[in-house]
Amino acid sequence: MKCSECNEKLVEYLYSDLPPEERRKMDGHFETCERCAKQLSQFQFVLTSFQQLKQHEPHSLVHQRILAHAKDMALKKGRSWLTQLLFKPSTATVVVVLLALSIFYYTRQFTPLGIHTEKVVVKAKGVRGVGEKGDQMSTDEQMISASMREKKAETALSAIPSSSSKIEENKALSERVLEGITPGAQEKLVAESKPSATVSIGMHPEHSRNLIRMVRTLEDNAEVQVPSLQSKDALYAFELGNLYFSQSDFEKAIATYSIALMMGSQEGYASTIRFQLALSYKKLNDCKSAVKVLDEIQKQHPQHPEIDKVIIMAGDCYMDLQAYDKAEINYTNFIHKYPDRKSQVADKLEIVRKFHRVNLSY
């Protein structure tokens, strides 16, 4: 075999694409031709070098985002044309408008908006037959109860835009939002054409409707099981949180992750929601809240895939909070779990111990 022929087939030889006979000829040539053998060795070295480069892995949230989207699309594909039509936001809007109009003509009253809505709420509750609690209540009591719920929803709504300077309130805020989305509140919001509580924190109208439906169903009858809907909506809230996170809107991310956590606390990805929640707090330098969440992850999800980062972040947060003893516990715990990665926290541990000693001496 000539060198030029060997040269032509070198790439195929490297990838074992040659027939056995050709390969044997090449092997024979390499034994006699030092130049071609050297070239082969150099090319093999190039490929080894490339293969030694650490392989990349996307963040676990990227997987979740893609799969959640695919799942959503699969659900849409699986629905009948009629269901698909009903699930369209435009169709839903038309249905809501028609419903509102029919309620309006049914009541045939032109009373001030507030009073009118309260009556609609009571009627709506009665029509749905969900007033198990209400059966024992007088109509007046029902009206007061509905009115109070609406107030809660309104308070939550009005608190959202002004919450930017009150990071501390975010967790409580998301709880109030959910608390506010009761049958009465929803009817009122629809009747007054106001955005729903979830819409006001940026949730897609279709998703917010699902959320409202789920909360309402659960509240009306605790025995009604809607696991798929619940899980799906938790994921929506989680996804929305990720969106806010990617847009660096950490306050909204925190509020939305908190909602996702409330609905999906039993989901497999609850630890990831908590991790993102802690990251969001950390981004806002709210280390106090971040450590609470990080401690929860360590207690409840010791197998979390990124538990190493959780431990280090907890240590860093405690260090920021000057809680050097707790920071030390976390860094030591990290070394105990990952002895071969000691160098990652060794410097920090030294600093923390130094400060801890100084504090003690005072």
Partner: protein, 214 residues
């Protein structure tokens, strides 16, 4: 259609899984995703020369396109040819955009490690500082060498190495004769060999490093 995981098995071909997904089976897509995401993500990272948020966005774009245009997919076409075509086009478009902008994207990956203070450029902490520094240098050299390859050589090299495609499949994908694909591979290897030689990288250094980041 209510999805049933029983319908899906790892032995099914990509084309069968795609047909199941077209009928609304989410597990079929999940199986397809886990089968191909790793190769595609590495292909993207090496093609655009980065593993951060831009690469993750591109990976997401690729699979969302599969989701959105799934209806148009016909089982007569090989699924991977279609999928890799989407990935390749995405990378080429991205590089073109970057060329025009001449700026880097501000996007960062979710949960960026930037804030995590757990950055460690060298995965193997048993190395001495000198060796670790050298491996960092080698990583950077290789990264630059791959980025410096002409686009048509880089894509052939990465399709073969990251996606494990045969030269016939590469030729079909990029629309060139098989011999052209092979000669592009050869030129790519020659370029990389020269860089490695010029930079004085030795085989022992690569083997000692065992694993290093790009």
């Amino acid at each position: 259609m209510i999805t049933d995981q029983k319908n899906v098995s790892n032995e099914q071909s990509d084309e069968e899984l795609m047909q199941l997904y077209q009928r609304g089976d989410e597990y079929a897509f999940e199986t397809l995703y886990w089968r191909h995401q790793y190769g595609i993500f590495n292909f993207i990272c090496h093609f655009i020369g980065g593993s951060g948020g831009q690469a993750e966005e591109l990976l997401q774009d690729v699979f969302l396109k599969v989701v959105k245009s799934g209806k148009r997919y016909k089982p007569t076409a090989k699924f991977t040819t279609w999928l890799y075509q989407i990935a390749r086009n995405g990378c080429i478009d991205h590089l073109r955009k970057m060329k025009h902008r001449k700026t880097t994207s501000l996007s960062e990956p979710i949960g960026s490690e930037e804030e995590m203070v757990v950055e460690s450029t060298i995965a193997n902490s048993n190395l001495s500082p000198e060796k670790a520094t050298r491996i960092s240098e080698i990583t950077e050299i290789l990264k630059k060498a791959i980025n410096a390859l002409p686009e048509e050589q880089r894509e052939v090299f990465l399709m073969r190495e990251d996606l494990d495609l045969s030269f016939a499949e590469i030729a079909e994908l990029i629309g060139c004769p098989i011999n052209t694909a092979k000669s592009r591979m050869r030129y790519a290897l020659e370029h990389l060999r020269k860089t490695i030689e010029l930079e004085g990288i030795t085989q022992s250094e690569v083997i000692e490093g065992e694993v290093f980041r790009m």
